[in-house]
Symmetry: C2
Subunit: 146 residues, 2 copies
């Protein structure tokens, strides 16, 4: 399926400590692959659940922002979507020694909120499934709000 464009993600390509997740569209599904490092373990050979939540959060907000920009036809908006709520269900231990694939799609979208469903696979086995509810914020106000 054709790649329609890369998404910007929370971790950011310039954060050398970040997860450096890269995503692309496959039709209406946003897909990302990522390779765990040895220190991302929870137990020997098993990926940490917090890292899984971080991947789903990053890929979920990236998908929401890309969907919002696509919908508005404008990539220079003053608003952005940030995570309001995340839930992750861990279906089985996720192996540490092979690449993972994240597959996300928008399940609900209105002016102020975009909800994204995101599954994580090791080979063809679904290891975790999550939902990210993002809320629209004014970018300048949000960055000043801390």
């Amino acid at each position: 399926m054709a790649r329609r464009g890369y998404l910007l993600l929370g971790c950011g390509k310039n954060n050398t400590h970040g997860l450096q997740l890269k995503s692309y569209w496959e039709d209406d599904e946003a897909v990302a692959t990522w390779e765990p490092k040895e220190h991302h373990l929870a137990f020997p050979g098993i990926l940490n659940g917090g890292i899984i939540a971080t991947l789903i959060d990053c890929h979920g907000t990236g998908t929401a922002n890309a969907a919002a920009h696509k919908d508005a036809g404008d990539t220079n908006q003053h608003s952005m979507h940030v995570t309001g709520r995340i839930s992750v269900k861990y279906l089985r231990p996720t192996p540490l020694n092979r690449p993972l694939t994240l597959r996300a799609h928008v399940t609900e979208m209105n002016e102020n909120k975009i909800t994204v469903s995101c599954d994580l696979y090791s080979n063809d086995t679904k290891c975790a499934t999550g939902e990210v509810v993002t809320v629209r914020v004014d970018q300048a106000l949000f960055l000043k709000s801390k």
Copy 2:
């Protein structure tokens, strides 16, 4: 309040890339403090939501395992509790430039499942709240299951 003992946490004190979270009991509440590093950002000055989920996951499972051991009066059990489901609600941006406090307590406990509620504070401001549902697994079988 008296400290009753340190908990073991997912990130592990020997993982130099880990978050090195340390927890202790204050009566029936498990408390941890943690200081963000500059590269844990989501945006300038604001902590990444995935790191927040990781902290709540680690502190939640640490609390569940400590509560299980305390309840059983036996720290050498062959079972342990791992995360089955986590949900986090982000209430406001979490500042990056000061220590955070996590406060957790057990809300439900039976033979196979322990649920923990966990709040994250910056100074006295609650920035995020989460729930971690942990499930009891046989340690040896779980570690072989990947």
